[in-house]
């Protein structure tokens, strides 16, 4: 007598689902699959919303409206996106070389710490000296924090995933110790935060007054772009890339002044876009970028070509951590103006999602950051929804998009065996 469970098992065994690699990926699939995945993710996201008694349709509508429905909403979304952009760029750089830096969160905290250290030590310095010093300090703080797992990996072969992750906790608790200990604002009545930064230590907001310097800057950029197109680019695709990036730069900068001028958006946005441009240039046009790409694609070939893995691991972790450090610096100096306990709602972790969804492309990081920034902002929208809802949606989107990626590269075959 065979049990029904046994029969079921036998039935399942005959049934097979197999993935066959597609040798040629159809172009439309590259766009159709992520879009379909997003739709699936949003549908899955309805489940926790309904469990909370929220109507998912109005819930999503409110979220989109809050994040992107008004100039104010968009500027708030950008505020959330800035740290994601900077940290996401850092993570993307490391991932390009297959160095798995999971420590952007800790590097972000150390960047915030280092920049504030400068600000509190030099309270009377003028903004023109203090802000650049804070930028350098923020970068350095994150860079050194990133260099620890980098050096451990390069010299001792220690897995950087574990070390960079563990260092997050140390960094976060270090900053927590400061805000409830030596750096606590005596006038805060026990609230765990540092004193407000002086006005000269805060990043300026974007205002209408920026038009003139921006136009001057764009003229210089145009000259550089033309020079590159004429003298350096070695294919029409490159020329097109340079042209498009310049136009994007112009449209973005002028557009954001027009649109965001006088709102809360700060210089961190310019910092992020600049970092994306530098990173893109670095990866595609320089000797070092070439090394990073070769190592990431094929470490054996890189070794044969005489590229030093150790040196590059440490360098990449320095820059990757530095960018995450800048995220912390800009968040404090641009947005919060003081360090609170646990001031980052996981920007450094979300940066991993950002980098991955952006396929490690610097410009992709900017776009994805805006979307996920909208999610952070939007999840505040629904009355009665727990804070965790936004995180859940983030996770669902990430899962489904990464899972959907398989369908772009593989074809599913299923059927019942003979």
């Amino acid at each position: 007598m065979e049990s029904s469970a046994g029969r079921l098992l036998a039935g399942l065994r005959g049934f097979s689902v197999r993935l066959e690699p597609r040798l040629e990926v159809r172009r439309w699939l590259r766009y159709a699959v992520p879009l379909a995945s997003l739709a699936v993710a949003l549908m899955l996201g309805m489940v926790p919303m309904m469990m909370q008694g929220i109507n998912p349709i109005t819930g999503y509508r409110d979220m989109v409206l809050l994040a992107f429905g008004s100039a104010y909403g968009i500027s708030e979304t950008i505020m959330k996106a800035i740290p994601l952009m900077l940290a996401g760029l850092g993570v993307a750089l490391a991932f390009r070389m297959l160095v798995w830096n999971i420590g952007a969160e800790g590097q972000l905290y150390m960047g915030a710490f280092a920049s504030c250290l400068v600000a509190y030590t030099l309270p009377d310095a003028p903004a023109w000296a203090l802000l650049p010093a804070m930028v350098v300090a923020g970068f350095a703080g994150g860079a050194l924090w990133g260099a620890i797992p980098g050096a451990l990996k390069a010299f001792l072969g220690v897995n950087e995933i574990i070390t960079s992750l563990m260092l997050n906790y140390i960094a976060i608790q270090w900053v927590n110790y400061l805000v409830i200990g030596p750096w606590q604002d005596p006038s805060s009545l026990g609230f765990p935060s540092t004193p407000r930064l002086s006005p000269s230590a805060t990043l300026p907001m974007i205002t209408q007054a920026w038009y003139l310097p921006t136009v001057v800057f764009l003229v210089i950029a145009a000259v550089v772009a033309v020079y590159w197109i004429v003298r350096r680019a070695h294919s029409s695709r490159e020329k097109l890339e340079i042209g498009i990036s310049f136009l994007c730069l112009a449209a973005l900068s002028l557009g954001s002044i027009w649109f965001l001028g006088g709102r809360r958006v700060h210089l961190g946005l310019v910092l992020s876009l600049g970092a994306a441009a530098v990173l893109w240039l670095l990866l595609s046009r320089t000797r070092w970028g070439y090394e990073i790409r070769v190592i990431g694609e094929n470490a054996r070939a890189a070794r044969y070509a005489g590229m030093s893995l150790k040196r590059n691991i440490i360098l990449v972790m320095l820059v990757s951590g530095g960018l995450a450090g800048l995220a912390g610096m800009s968040e404090i100096a641009g947005n919060l103006h003081l360090i609170k306990r646990m001031f980052s709602p996981g920007y450094g972790y979300t940066a991993i999602i950002v980098a991955w969804l952006a396929k490690l492309n610097p410009w992709g990081v900017i776009l994805v950051s805006l979307l996920l920034g909208g999610l952070y902002r939007g999840s505040d929208a629904i009355p009665g929804a727990p804070k965790a809802l936004g995180m859940m949606l983030q996770a669902v989107i990430f899962f489904v998009l990464i899972g959907g990626d398989v369908l772009v590269r593989y074809r599913v075959r299923w059927g019942r065996g003979a």
Binding site: R285, A301, Y304, A305, A418
Partner: protein, 511 residues
Amino acid sequence: MEDASRFAIRMEGITKRFPGVVANHSIDFSVLKGEIHALLGENGAGKTTLMKILNGLYQPDEGQIWIDGRRVTLRSPRDAIGLGIGMVHQHFMLVESHTVAENIILGLDTPRFSLHLGQVENDIARLAERYHLQVDPKARIWQLSVGEQQRVEILKALYRGARILILDEPTAVLTPQEAEELFKTLRSMVSEGHTVVFISHKLGEVMSVSDRITILRRGEVVDTVFASQTSKEDLARMMVGRDVLVRLRKRESEPGDVVLEIEGLSALSDKGLEALRDVSLTVRSGEILGVAGVAGNGQRELAEAIVGLRPVTRGRISVAGTDVANRSPREVMDRGVGYIPEDRMGSGLVVNLSVAENLILKCYRDPPVCSGFFLDGDAISAHAEELVQAYDVMTPGIDTRTRLLSGGNLQKLILAREISSQPSLMVAVHPTRGLDVGATEAVRGLLLEQRDSGAGIVLISEDLEELLSMSDRIAVLYEGRVMGVVPSEEARVEALGLMMAGTAAEEVHGE
């Protein structure tokens, strides 16, 4: 159909398309019960694809299959083994740290809970004896030679009840003597009522073992013939579609100064075992030193040690007079050493980068490609255009991703890059493996041209014919030792075979 029962396998109108290629084009293929049937064809002719369809690894786009007269659909190797079809792949699918017996029962449903390995070992021993497949069921795979591992794979199929055995290029990894053993086993299997299909591109063995031969070319069946009614020449013509390579006409070599001198070299394999033992070799400019040996006898380690990719535990490697043992690949490269690695896609090229980007892999630091921190796009494209043209690399453009090129063009790309640095010593590992006739000729021609223009060449190959026709002298490696170095005009295939199996040169010649 009365005689349907005579056929073990009948495939009709099998078509399998991959994007851009038709791997099998309406193929009719049938195998009689109890015969040894050879599937002959060049690399890329579609032999392996056809057999993977028969093993359920691929589904055909069109066509029908009958096994023992019954119409079947094969969706997985599990279906295939259910019908008594077992396949021994070119690359063995064994767990190195497990024993023979454990590997053989791996993936089986029975026994479901309690495992009596002793019983299994007895069964295996009995099977092994019956088919002359001597192997210790308790031995661990890593302890076995390649030939023994192949026996384990065959036993695995037999243990699962395979009556039809498919072997994909079974002799590629064997010495001539081991191959002869294998053929004995195959004959005894056939006499017990089994059916054997084996894939090969070696004419000699196909003629000597098989009953019938099916020749494939470019995904189509050329003909099926009886081995007793054909000749090597006929087979070759059908296989290639034109008269075969004439023996390369090469000039008398003019050896000059010593470019490479290896003395007492020892090195470890990836597993930390001694892979090279006290190897001493000399290469002069203007000559080709062939290195023969069965796969895995230290050839790869030798090449890697010379180019600086593998640490050396003892000995000296001097290139043009300076010791480069344990120097970095870059330092070795700068002394004028070029390298054609065994795995083109693995260490020779970065397949996700463009053709142009791959061509600068060795010179990306130097002007004109690099000026300061930035790479010079114009110089990169000029460099690429020049090499692509000079070496006749077929590519849609220099910005094409390298992944999209065919095997022959990948190899030409590597040759272009390595030769363009004007090396005084070239280390070439299996430079023509997997290439079609045209590309093989081109690659061999380029290497000979290098020799004639004064470079010294170390040519590592498993293809004895290639070694005999290209080299000036041939060294044979066995278990990391040099068994002897013989001038190629004096070398006989049988003698080389004995040396490849571990007999020293003096003994071979003493006979």
